[in-house]
């Protein structure tokens, strides 16, 4: 399969960082996922071949890292932290609110319009600004239910553009 020019450039640059090709693997998987939405069978084969690994070896690595996925997520993946600091400041309520609002089961499925998925995640490093969530890579902190509504609405609008 062909990668985009941007991803090819990323790959070539990263290869120069390390004495072994394999070291590229973890960050490059994430960059690939960002472009494709998830790690497809073809992408896994392609990366394995480039790094002199078997597809199985690549899958073994994928299965270890929480952010890597082999199934699609919504265009905007809403990741709500419920770990201790967020728990103390209403993280579970925020998760429940997002789930209801979007009508998606947590950790599985995508909203009917394909726009949203909802994940319960472990600590994202926003402890002093809890409760917090990430939508894809964007942090949203000091959340209230009203703030969550606004944020989700802004992503919904973005998806329609």
């Amino acid at each position: 399969m062909n990668f985009s020019d941007q991803l090819e450039a990323r790959f070539a640059d990263m290869l120069g960082h390390y004495p072994t090709k394999r070291s590229v693997l973890v960050p490059f998987l994430l960059y690939t996922q960002d472009e494709l939405g998830y790690l497809t069978d073809e992408a896994i084969e392609e990366i394995a071949q480039r790094l002199d690994l078997t597809a199985l070896e690549v899958r073994n690595v994928i299965s270890y890292y929480s952010m890597l996925r082999t199934r699609p997520a919504g265009k905007y993946n809403v990741q709500v932290c419920t770990n201790i600091c967020c728990l103390l400041r209403g993280g579970e309520e925020i998760l429940e609110h997002a789930r209801k609002k979007l009508g998606v089961a947590v950790n599985k499925g995508i909203s009917e319009d394909g726009v949203f998925s909802v994940e319960e995640v472990e600590c994202i490093g926003a402890c002093s600004w809890a409760p917090a969530m990430q939508v894809n890579y964007d942090f949203h902190e000091n959340l209230t239910e009203a703030k969550v509504d606004e944020i989700l609405e802004s992503y919904r609008k973005k998806a329609q553009q």
Binding site: R22, Y64, Y65, T82, C127
Partner: protein
């Protein structure tokens, strides 16, 4: 974007450039940036190590190992290349300090890594940033590119004849990778499982070469130490605990935030003065003083100095600087359960006591909190946790066990209050959701 706060008791060393646009290399240079690395080049390896030893700087990742001593363990001669590795896989619940450093002062991390490299005569440094911190990785990528564009990295840095390359690396979501040997596995493109020790990374680390691995905050402190002198830095803190540290105040506080305070600052003052006291007019129940893996302190155990040795004496750990404040409306059983749910999710499964222990404890605590607990469960929880201690390759097993033992020991009556099908005595109640374990 992370928010900045301020308090008059703060001593701003690491945070001295926060909010000043220092991610821009020109601004960093105006603010005395990249002077320390040039001084280090002139001082040479031994003098740099001695300066850091004199500073009493101890590892800010959590273990508190003396940094200068760590560097001195790296063999002078090595057939394999040596490496410096910055651990920016910040993921201990309660900890959000490295995020501020990477956002506001990324060049301090680069400069600190460069000085560490000069100290151990390494020519390559890697800065590993957790996958969730993509915006910070992008800041770091730009910062490294700027450093190369100025000729501060690469061949013959600052005309010294010394070659030094700096690279970024990104993770993809794994708490375990914050453990030093697992981080090396991850950087080598593998699952992040820990390595057996000895040999220690200082002798056999990344790609088999001697490796210094330091937390991002530790490295960001180093240029300041070189600039002000080790002794002056040491004087800010308490004996054997040099300097300042970024404390991440979270939980039920009026003014949560990341504050830079001298080592040894009083915890009670930190909560009631710096953090503005308990929110919503409630009372303090407990404090987790150094990130989720450190044993809980009760409300009457907080009149202590926040340095590594004093907190250890009080039966807990200073850890990663994450101070989690819990009010009297919180159910400790629920808190213990959520803590264990995290460790169960993050256990890499390599060592049986950790893999099975976290799962058993999670199951037991789940049942217990839901009202299905038996009296003997309370001792069983403690017994299980105690049997994980010291029996794993890496400290994740201990990190799960230690807080659990603390919760049972110090809040036994709350566990008892859940017995015989009684509903949780605290207002919020419900089945805790379950994260999938390594299933994708």
């Amino acid at each position: 974007m992370a928010y900045l706060v301020s308090h008059p008791d703060e001593v701003k060393v690491i945070s001295s450039r926060f909010g000043k646009g220092a991610a821009d290399i020109d601004r960093y240079l105006e603010l005395d940036g990249y002077k320390a690395v040039q001084m280090a080049l002139q001082m040479g390896s031994e003098a740099v190590i001695n300066e850091v030893k004199a500073s009493n700087l101890r590892g800010r990742g959590g273990a508190g190992f003396p940094t200068g001593m760590k560097w001195s363990f790296v063999p002078k001669e090595s057939a394999k290349p040596k490496y410096v590795l910055c651990n920016g896989d910040e993921s201990e619940p309660g900890t959000c300090k490295d995020r501020l450093i990477f956002e506001h002062d990324p060049h301090a991390v680069i400069e600190g890594a460069m000085i560490a490299a000069i100290a151990v005569n390494a020519h390559k440094a890697y800065i590993y940033i957790r996958g969730e911190y993509r915006y910070l990785l992008e800041i770091m990528q730009k910062s490294i590119a700027d450093v190369y564009a100025r000729g501060f990295a690469g061949k013959n840095i600052f005309g010294s004849g010394y070659d030094l390359d700096v690279y970024w690396h990104g993770g993809a979501g794994a708490y375990e990778v914050g453990e030093e040997s697992a981080l090396m596995e991850s950087l080598e493109g593998k699952r992040g499982v820990p390595r057996i020790r000895p040999p220690f990374p200082a002798v056999v680390g990344l790609w088999g070469g001697p490796t210094v691995i330091n937390n991002a905050e530790t490295l960001a402190s180093v240029p300041h130490i070189i600039m002000m002198g080790g002794q002056k830095y040491a004087d800010i803190g308490t004996p054997k605990n040099g300097g300042t540290r970024l404390f991440c105040l979270s939980g039920h506080l009026e003014k949560p935030g990341v504050y830079e305070l001298p080592m040894g600052y009083n915890l009670k003052k930190m909560i009631y003065e710096v953090g503005g006291g308990i929110s919503n007019g409630r009372k303090l129940k407990a404090v987790v003083p150094g990130g989720s893996s450190t044993p809980v302190l009760t409300a009457d155990e907080i009149d202590i100095a926040m340095d590594f040795d004093s907190v250890a004496k009080a039966g807990s750990m200073l850890g990663s600087g994450g101070v989690v404040v819990i009010d009297d409306a919180t159910c400790i059983v629920k808190f213990a359960l959520r803590t264990m749910q995290f460790y169960r999710h993050e256990s890499c499964g390599w060592c049986i006591p950790c893999r099975e222990g976290t799962d058993w404890l999670n199951k037991t605590l789940t049942r217990f909190h839901a009202g299905g607990g038996l009296a003997k469960d309370i001792d069983n929880i403690r017994y299980l946790a105690e049997n994980m201690l010291g029996r794993t390759f890496c400290p994740l097993g201990d990190a799960a066990a230690m807080p659990t033992i603390g919760f049972v020991k110090k809040f036994r009556e709350e566990f008892e209050a859940h017995l015989e099908g009684k509903p949780c005595p605290f207002e919020k109640h419900g089945a805790i959701s379950q994260l999938p374990v390594m299933s994708h």
